[in-house]
Symmetry: C2
Amino acid sequence: MNKNLTSRSEDYSKWYNELVIKADLAENSIVRGCMVIKPYGYAIWEKMQAELDKMFKETGHQNAYFPLFVPKSLFEAEEKNAKGFAKECAIVTHYRLKNDPENEGKLIVDPESKLEEELIVRPTSEAIIWHTFKGWIQSYRDLPLLINQWANVVRWEMRTRLFLRTTEFLWQEGHTAHETREEAMIEAELMNNVYAEFAENFMAMPVIKGLKTESERFAGAEETFCIEALMQDGKALQAGTSHYLGQNFAKAFDVKFTNKEGKQDYVWATSWGVSTRLIGALIMTHSDDKGLVLPPNLAPNQVVIVPIYKNDEQFEAVSKVANTIMNDLKLKGVSVKFDNRTAFRPGAKFAQHELQGVPLRIAIGPKDLENGTVELARRDTLTKEVVALESLVDKVVNLMTEIQNNIFSKALSFRNSHITKVNTLEEFKDVLKNKTGFISAHWDGTNETEAKIKEITKATIRCIPVDNIAEDGKCIYSGNPSKQRVLFAKAY
Amino acid sequence: MNKNLTSRSEDYSKWYNELVIKADLAENSIVRGCMVIKPYGYAIWEKMQAELDKMFKETGHQNAYFPLFVPKSLFEAEEKNAKGFAKECAIVTHYRLKNDPENEGKLIVDPESKLEEELIVRPTSEAIIWHTFKGWIQSYRDLPLLINQWANVVRWEMRTRLFLRTTEFLWQEGHTAHETREEAMIEAELMNNVYAEFAENFMAMPVIKGLKTESERFAGAEETFCIEALMQDGKALQAGTSHYLGQNFAKAFDVKFTNKEGKQDYVWATSWGVSTRLIGALIMTHSDDKGLVLPPNLAPNQVVIVPIYKNDEQFEAVSKVANTIMNDLKLKGVSVKFDNRTAFRPGAKFAQHELQGVPLRIAIGPKDLENGTVELARRDTLTKEVVALESLVDKVVNLMTEIQNNIFSKALSFRNSHITKVNTLEEFKDVLKNKTGFISAHWDGTNETEAKIKEITKATIRCIPVDNIAEDGKCIYSGNPSKQRVLFAKAY
C-alpha cells in the first residue's frame, strides 16, 4: 500500500492528500467541499474531543447546544462579525420540496415554502449565542458564564483540503461572559494555554503561544491569542485561537448585568475554538514517507498484535498468547487490537498498520511460542526487537511514554531549527526560499508594512509570541524603529 | 420555584412545558422550532450518549461522520425515502450574503450565488451514507459494515415541543450493511434490544419491544422494530426504532458486493436511531409535581451537598466535612456537587435541587458536626433521615442502586397497570377515555381497519410485541378473525 505513497520531498501536498485517503482517515464527499470522516479518522477526533472536553470541564466550563441556524438579522446586529464571516455561507431560503409535476420521480423546491427571513447555517455561533445569553444574564450572580459547544459549522470555502479547510467541519466553540475586563482577558489566555497544553502533551506537537496582529485577528475580537505550529514543509499552521472580545458582542446584543455595586454594565466576553483541522496538523507534524505516525496519547489503537501462523493449530496457539497479552495490556490502560482477520496475510497487515501509524506492533509466530518471545516494532523509529514475554507488558507501558516523548522531541528539534532570526528583507526572502519555517524579524507595528511584506513574500505575521523579549531594532521593511521581533511564516 | 409549577393533574402538557424551562433543561430559541439545550439538559444528553456509545462499540460498531447536506438528486434516487421524509426540510439554495446597497447595515442574499443543485439539510442520512457506502463495499471482506453517526438533523415540523418534537434535534443514526438477509435482521433486532436495555437500565423506563405495522414503518424499511414507553398521562411514546431495510437502499444506490462464492449481490441493510426525544421521555416517566426525578444512572449530579451555616467559621467547619464526604464518594464512583454558593440560602438551594431532580441531597449544619451526622433526603420518595457520618458512604452507594430500582419499579407498576385487554370497540373507547394507557386488542391485520380505528379513536397501533402469544380472536372493529392481540394507544 505505502509503496504507492508519494514521498514528502517529491510533493508534500500530494503526499498529504494521498496519505489522508490511504490511511482511511477521510474522503471527499459528493457535496462540494464537505468531507466524510471515516471511522479511523473519527476515532482520532473522539480521542481529541475526550481530552479537550475533560480539560474544559476541569477549568469550570459546561457544554450546551445552540441552533444550527442563525436568522439573517442576527448577523446584521453584529456588524463586525457579519463583515468578517457571514458573506460566504450556506443560506436556507425554503422549507419544502414537492414532486415535480412535469418530471416524474423528480423533486423541486416548493416556491410557496419561501421563508420570511433567510436562515444562515452557522459559520460560528457568536450571534445566536449572544442573543441567547441576553436571557441568561441579569446579575453578577449569573457570572462568569462559561459555555462550550461541540458542533458542526459551515463556511463556503472556495478551495478546500481534507481536514485543513472544508466547507463543513467539526469543532468546539467556547463562549464566556465575565464581570470585568481583566477576568475576560485571563480567560482568553487561559484557554489558549489549555490548547497549547493539549497540542504538546497529546498531539506531541510543539506550539508557539502568541497574539495576532490587528489585521489577523478574528472580526469582532479586541485581542486574539493563538497557538502556531510548524509543519514538516516549513509552513506554519494556526492550530487554535482564543479571543478576548471586550464588550463588542455584549453591546451588539444588549447583554447587561447588575454588578455588585448595583450598577448596570455590559459583560466582557471571550470565544475560543479548535476544529478537525487539528487532525491535519497532527498528520503533517509527525508522519513520514511510509505513512502516519501517531502519538500514543491519541492513537485509536496504541498497540496491534499480528499473529503469524501456517495452520489452524498454530493460529490457536498464537491467539491464546495474544489474548493474554491483550488482557494484561488493557489492565495497564493500553489500548490493543488483536488483528486476527483471516482474510489478510501478515505482510498486508504490517503494511496497513504502518500506513495507519499504530505506535507499536507485536508479531507472534510459532518460533516465538517456542522461545517465549515476541517481536516488537516501533512505528516512530521503525526499529524492531525481540522481547521476552515476561518483560513485555512493562516494556510496552514504558514505550508508550517513550514514543510520545520521542516524537515530540523530534518535532521540537525540527521546529526550533526552523526559527531563523533575520535583520534584512533580503535575508528574509532567502530564508523563505531556501530554508522555510518561522522567521523572527523586527516589524514597525503598522498594518501597511505587514500588508506590504505579505504582498512581496506571501509570508504573514503568525504571532507576536507571548514570551517575547523586548529588543530594539529596525523594521526589515520600513527601517523604522521596532521594540520587538515577531514571527513570520508562510502558512496553511 | 416549584410552587409555581403547574400540577400534572391540572394540566399535564403545561406541567411538562414549565418543568423543562424551570429545571433549566432547554428553552425555545429565536429560530422557529429549534431549541437551546441548556447545560443541565445537555449534561443528561452527554450521560445518555456515553452509555449508548459504549454499548454500540461493545456490539462492534464504529463512529464516523457524514456531510450535513444531501444533494437533492440523492433523495430522488431513493424514492421511498424521499416520499417519507424529504418534503418538509430546510433547503439551502444560495451560498453568499452581500451588503444591501439600498439599506446601510443590512444584508441580502446574493442572487449570483444560487446553487446549481439545492442542498437539503439532512432529515436523516440514509441517502448520503448509502451513496458513500458504494465506495466502501466491494467484497464480503468489507462486510459487515457497522457504522454509527452522532449528529444533528432537521425536519421542518409544524408543531414543536421542547425535546419531544423540534425542528433541529440531536441523535445517533446507525447504518449497517450485511452479507445476508438473516444477518441484517439479527442486527436490527439486536440494536432494538440495546435500546431496550439502555431504556430500562439507565433511564429506568420500562419499554415494550415490538414491531411496527406496515403503515407505521419508516419509509423504505421492510420491518421496523421499536421500543414503546408509557408516559404518566397514559400516552405512549416511541423511544427508539431499528429498521431492517432489506436491499432497498442497496438497490437505490447500487451497492453490490462479491460474495464468498464469487457472485455479485446487493447488500442487506439496517438503520436505527434514538434522539434527544429520550430526554422528554425521561422527564415524563418519573417526574412529579415538585419537579424532575432523575435516575442515578443518568443524573448529572447524583448527590448534592448543601452546607447550613450562620457565619464564616461554621461555613469552614461544614465545608471541611463536606469535602471529605465528596472525596470519599468520588472514590466510590458517585458524582457529587458541593453547592457552596454563598449568594443563595439553603432553602433556595433545596428548592432548586428538588426541581432539578438530584437523586440525593446531603445537608450538613453545625448540629450535625456536633453529632457526627448528616441529613439525607431522597428525591424519589421525598423522605429524610439522619445518618451517622461513618456509615454515610456505604449508605449512599447502596441508595444509588436502590433509587434506580425504585423508580424503575414504580414506572413498571404504572405501565403494567395500564395495559388493558379489551374485546370490543366500546370497551376500547371506554379505556381510552377513562383509563388511558396501552390497550391490548385483536386486529384483523389490515391497513384499512388500522386507519379506521385511528380515525374514530385517535389511537394507533404502537406495536406488535415481539414476545406476543398466539391467541385466536376477533378484530374489535371488523369482527374478522385475528391470530394475536396488538397494542394500541394514543401517542406522542
